[in-house]
Amino acid sequence: MSYGLRFRDEKNVTHGRLKVKTTKEQEEEKRQKRAQKVKQYRGAFSRIVEKRQSGEKDEEGLQISQQILEMIPDIHTLWNYRREILLHLKEFLSEDELQRRLESERFLTEACLRANPKSYCAWHHRSWSMDLMPRPDWQRELALCNKFLSLDERNFHCWDYRRFVVRRAQVPAQEELNFTDEKIAVNFSNYSCWHYRSKLLPVVQPDPLGVRPVAEAKHKEELELVQNAAFTDPTDQSAWFYQRWLLGRSRPRQAVTRALVSTERCLAALVHPARAPVRLQLLVGDGAEPLAGTWRAADGQACSSVWVFAPSSPLPQPLAGPVRLRLQDDQGHDVDAELCVDADGRGARLCVAPDFGAPLSPALSSVMLEELDACRQLLEFDPDSKWTLLTSALLMQTIDRHAYEAETLLTLDELVELDYQRANYYKDLKSRLLVEYALERQRGDAVDLTGLALTALYHAPLLALVRTLVLDDNHLRRPLPHLSALQCCESLSLDRNELSSLAGWPALPSLVSLSLRDNALSDVGSLAALSCCPRLQSLDLRGNPLAQGDQAELRRNVLAVLPKLATLNGVHV
């Protein structure tokens, strides 16, 4: 894989080598030079192989390997041989001698890195030999990092080596933070530096409340710093990515959001997917033991948000006493959810109001309002700054998603026009928000998501209890295996979307009626994917390419793959 998976962003052996036209003589001269090098390499390498085979671990081995490594620093075998020799020498050299010996490894790796600053092997050998050194001078290593980073402030190998040195020398995080201050003051556009800050700040100034990445006072200061950077050059990505992190909301806690317990079906939908075997228990009655039975993922995956329970013996009827679900989260904490038992005691359900926005402390929201205000000022000067627009949309979502609903959506529409390379990203983001708004308003058995221009279907697990779902007049076109969440859905309508295939269609145990009118389905054979919906009786395919032509033939072909169908295109079959 990439150089056996070696990643480089710019110049090296096979990256960024310009193809140049040369004269015959130049070519011949180059050919001879190269032939010479090949000969030299082969001679030296075969000598090394010989020496290793006969177990020689000596100065000569170091010399020969050095000659090749100065030419090609990525031959790991040669570094390995050097390490074998060095470990051998360590056994009988005095401490001073070993120190001197390892100092020369320092010189060699530095020479190699000057020629090829992105050599994985040379950087690794440097850290290996520094760890073997009796008296390592870490301050000098830090100085080397400074030097290399002044030549290329984005060399991630050097940043990684720096972090290694910092650990060994126990440099306080605050000092490293000061270093990033200096680097950013020189050049805002240093993504590597912002990245490093994201690691250092939570260590130096942790938030005691755990809701922000850093303590509140520092958070405000940091937002000002990054805003200053972003506004200095609004086209520079680094600051905007960092700002998004600072503004980010914490991940919601794991919980059960939807649950149903009935003789026909028991299921639970979770905020976050959980891994099989899922640690979920169903308890019926006071002080009851968990019911025996098995949980399986609705989508058949090892990790899933929707779980279906098959009890080993029939559920007690009527359900006596409280009905609870107990979920153990990743940290091993129990999360209990109590279901609401129906009046007749035959079933119980849970439908938690979704939490799409995390609460903010008042102090923080005032900072956000200032940020939003600053974005608006910037947009007055430069209305086409996509980063400013996107940030303002995210700020509005974070500050008050309801008050700014219309404005957020309009901003995303603007971004679709402005940044057309990423139009689909903004459309999906808007689809996500639209589904969130809709699900806050509709919480019954039927959900209508008609005409929202949806390009993606987010939050499917929140639809786990819905019996009727209408998704007409949207732009859905990709496979929809995530509809597997619709375990209770009896009627599903996807009229006037852009589906061209039903590949990956999930097993929907309750589905009776499916309408797919006016899509782009062209292959009758692909309808076989629907055979995993055992109760499906009615299918409407009118207005699809596959439904054009002879209707009797269509009926025959459809029934051949879906023999249990009772109604096709509104006609009894």
Binding site: M1, G4, H76, D160
Partner: protein, 333 residues
């Protein structure tokens, strides 16, 4: 003041159609001249070189251009007693070349010709207490090696040989503020490393631990006005990132977040009309590495019917993965 964005401008006369026949010739000639300078100087990663060439030819439907028996026997001979593979004789085994060897053998349906038990013990022996993997006994730790390990084991259906939970925890400890991943805890996000970690999580079935919208956004922001993709912010575009970025987006179900037409145009512009093959950017020297990733990216983009479908996790033709017991996970939007 605003600095100009780092990008290139595509000249008008660059190729805009796929020169598949030329690429097949270019790939088939790999290693025919054993004294070729480039060939000789890349001996230390020969196994990966062979993997790039085989996979590219296979995607082009021309696997038979190379003598199968010879390829298989060359690869089989590179397995050491430890179970690991060397890149070429005289070199030391490494997880990078072990994966390349396993990939080649799976493509030729010849994995049974090696000692699978010793391969499994070699790979599992590289796992450390904290779940991470070293590349060989010399202790370099990198999430690339975590990917190589689970890819190898998954290809021989032996994921049971390692502590998957700890391996996942280590990879997750390399996640960053931008949703991406670096080589080790604390290291900066990089599209190549992201491919390794997202690929790793798809093999281990733990993709839900990624913030797919955040990471997908970072990945689609790799697309530059030229249509090409870079590997990190403020870097130049390069054909190989068409693969690292696109395969990650594809696994996350968000491939459509980049502009397909413009990316196809950039990739096609990196073809060498004289010799065949793709280079990193238009006008540079072509090589098998960029040729594979150019073709593989075009396959994912689905715009070139003459290229076979590629699996975004393993970077191998989909039809070669039929025998896999557990398929890598995918997300959907």
């Amino acid at each position: 003041m605003a600095k100009p964005m780092r990008d290139i401008v595509l000249a008008k006369d660059l190729p805009s159609t796929l020169l598949l026949e030329k690429h097949i010739e270019f790939l088939s000639s790999y290693g025919t001249d054993k004294n070729d300078y480039e060939f000789c100087m890349t001996e230390y990663m020969r196994m990966s070189g062979m993997y790039w060439v085989m996979t590219a030819l296979n995607l082009a439907g021309c696997q038979d251009r190379l003598p199968a028996e010879e390829v298989i026997s060359t690869v089989v001979k590179c397995q050491e007693e430890s179970g690991g593979f060397v890149a070429s004789p005289g070199h030391d085994a490494h997880i990078l070349y072990t994966l390349s060897a396993v990939q080649i053998l799976v493509m030729y349906d010849a994995i049974d010709q090696i000692n699978i038990e010793s391969l499994v013990s070699y790979v599992s022996g590289l796992q450390r207490e904290d779940g991470s993997f070293v590349g060989d006994k010399w202790g370099e730790v990198d999430t690339r090696f975590s990917f190589c390990a689970v890819a190898c084991l998954s290809l021989v259906n032996r994921m049971d040989a390692i502590n998957v939970e700890k391996a996942v925890d280590f990879v997750m400890s390399c996640m960053n503020f931008d949703g991406g991943f670096g080589s080790c805890p604390g290291a900066e996000s990089h599209a190549g490393q992201i491919y390794c970690c997202v690929g790793f999580l798809s093999i281990t079935g733990e993709l839900h631990r990624v913030d797919a919208d955040l990471l997908g956004w970072w990945l689609c922001e790799r697309q530059l006005p030229s249509g090409g993709l870079n590997g990190r912010p403020e870097k130049l575009p390069d054909v190989c990132y068409s693969w690292w970025v696109l395969s990650s987006l594809s696994i996350l179900g968000r491939l459509h977040w980049v502009h397909k037409g413009q990316l196809v145009k950039f990739i096609l512009a990196c073809q060498d009309t004289e010799t065949g093959g793709f280079s990193d950017r238009p006008g540079d020297m072509p090589d098998p590495f960029h040729t594979l990733f150019g073709l593989a990216a075009l396959s994912l983009l689905g715009e070139s019917p003459s290229i076979k479908p590629v699996d975004p996790t393993f970077c191998m033709p989909v039809h070669c993965l039929d025998k896999l017991k557990s398929k890598p996970q995918r997300l959907y939007t």
